[in-house]
Symmetry: C2
Subunit: 99 residues, 2 copies
């Protein structure tokens, strides 16, 4: 299992558009066989900050995700919305309810 937290900071005027694009991407990502969980969460107190919580069943699944049309559409759609480059951190589970 590979867990990736993608930290995103968007321009204030892009918050709604980012939410919409990310909901669409997350819905489709949740349908990928290699993805156990693909959540989108928004920071309390600063709505311009989001985290994508991505839980992959394998390393290969992370690459497969980047090959999907929905990821590529999301990536291109949100590119201009960033207030700063997004960053991602990889984790491995110590204890998780994701199977």
């Amino acid at each position: 299992m590979v867990i990736v937290h993608v930290h995103v900071h968007v321009k204030p005027e892009c918050v709604e558009a980012f939410r919409e694009a990310s909901i669409e991407n997350a819905r489709q990502s949740n349908g990928e066989p290699g993805i156990a969980r693909f959540d989108v969460i928004q920071q309390v107190g600063d709505p311009t900050r989001f985290v994508l919580v991505e839980v992959y069943r394998s390393q290969e699944a992370t690459a497969a995700h980047k090959d999907t049309a929905h990821y590529q559409k999301w990536r291109d759609t949100v590119a201009e919305m960033m207030a700063e480059p997004r960053s991602s951190v990889k984790y491995e589970p110590v204890l998780t309810r994701d199977a």
Copy 2:
């Protein structure tokens, strides 16, 4: 729903003890009625860094958690293991599979 990510950086010699204490706390926290998810994850490439991924069903549940014996035991047990003070960030869901 209230999502809290607690970022923890422990001293290198405390990694295993922190894992053990946190697994015990997470197991018991997952049994709280107000908690939908309580995961512990460890950063790839830097095993001294952890995130506790806490998903509460309500604001009240966050307070109830702090009243439990297992939380208080964990808090006291890990206090001396920190390399720096831990920090927490609150989020609300945009799209999540937690119910």
